[in-house]
Symmetry: C2
Subunit: 224 residues, 2 copies
């Protein structure tokens, strides 16, 4: 992906680097909240299970953020990464599917902090339509297309049942959504210009599975 640096120079940044920037920022915000002022590349990288050389290589695309051998200033690095990631640019968002997961996400106030103000929530269930979550009403799904066009919605969270996921995603894309945060446990097909971020809850649980279920075995191994 090509981006422009602060001096107006165009350059290409690997997707893998781009996908790590949010991890760095997430950790740095935690450090900032804990009152940490400085962090070395080694400390930051170790806390994320990556190599320090990898982190420095990633940061190098954006000017490095510190002089060689000097720690990063947390209070400077956080806003710098926020700007690169685009947190400072508000992009209006909707949630499609107001079941428990959709409602849980609608209640997640951090979205505003990350530059995604929640503008609308949509569902087909007449028992949900008309309810409000943090002041945002749940509207009928049939109104989504017009709403997306009218309000210039760019990003949609997909939390509908899996059997209608593709159909609803098609409607979102046709209306003008360019980024879909997909919480359904299925792949959705979109035109190449649409970005899909799959959030696979099952993968997280399976990671925990391997380790928690093998703890007994590992201990047995150690004991023999």
């Amino acid at each position: 992906m090509r981006v422009v640096n602060t001096k107006g120079k165009k350059f290409r940044v690997p997707d893998a680097t781009i996908l790590r920037l949010p991890l760095y920022l997430d950790k740095l915000i935690l450090l900032q909240q804990a009152g940490v002022k400085e962090v070395s590349s080694r400390q930051l990288a170790t806390s994320l299970d990556i190599k320090a050389s990898q982190l420095r290589h990633d940061f190098h695309y954006f000017g490095g953020f510190s002089k060689p051998g000097r720690p990063y200033q947390v209070d400077k690095l956080v806003p710098a990464l926020e700007e690169i990631i685009g947190v400072d640019v508000p992009v209006p968002m909707i949630i499609v599917g107001a079941g428990h997961l959709g409602q849980g996400l609608a209640n997640y106030r951090n979205f505003e902090r990350l530059g995604f103000p929640l503008r609308g929530i949509f569902d087909v269930d007449p028992k949900l339509v008309g309810l409000e979550i943090r002041g945002v009403p749940i509207r009928p799904l049939s109104e989504m297309t017009a709403f997306v066009k009218e309000h210039g919605i760019k990003v949609g969270v997909l939390t509908v049942p899996v059997n209608v996921a593709q159909d609803v995603a098609n409607q979102m894309v046709a209306a003008g959504v360019v980024g879909i945060w997909n919480f359904t446990p299925t792949d959705i097909r979109t035109p190449p210009q649409v970005i899909v971020r799959n959030e696979r809850l099952a993968v997280g649980l399976m990671c925990l599975s391997f380790k928690t279920k093998r703890i007994g075995q590992t201990e047995e191994l150690r004991g023999d």
Copy 2:
């Protein structure tokens, strides 16, 4: 981490490999549901944005799963990975924090399929205590410790407010929980034998942020 293969041989598998196995299985289950019978290492790897050589290297720890140059049989690979990951071993789980996100997760039926039957839900809110989600009652948090001990609960999902996350995690660990699936936007400290899987919703949204907010810029770049 050391594991035992089907021939009883002990061997060490890198954590990075272990963390990729659920990604493979998640994708293979989608392929299986779509009726796909065979998949090459290249097809499977490409769909996950990793290199085919990396995937073959990961699988090699477990015997490779196919002869060189031959595709994987989806219907054989799925149960093989399920067994390695431990999906076939039921481990009882609780959810602590029955707000919208906790309720959303409690409604997520895939947990049972992945070997984590939901046994209990806990909250401090008297308006929530006594309600049931899929037949599982919400109990007062004060009963959690006794419940974990009595039912041999090994895994807990943490969906409490961030300001009490560490304190509740401490209670879970003291009661006997060895794996915590942390949805709170903070780091929690645990003894080394406890596995914590952090689910950072903000990271997913920030990944979407970079790409959707830069689309206009990228198009401008292409146009000049």
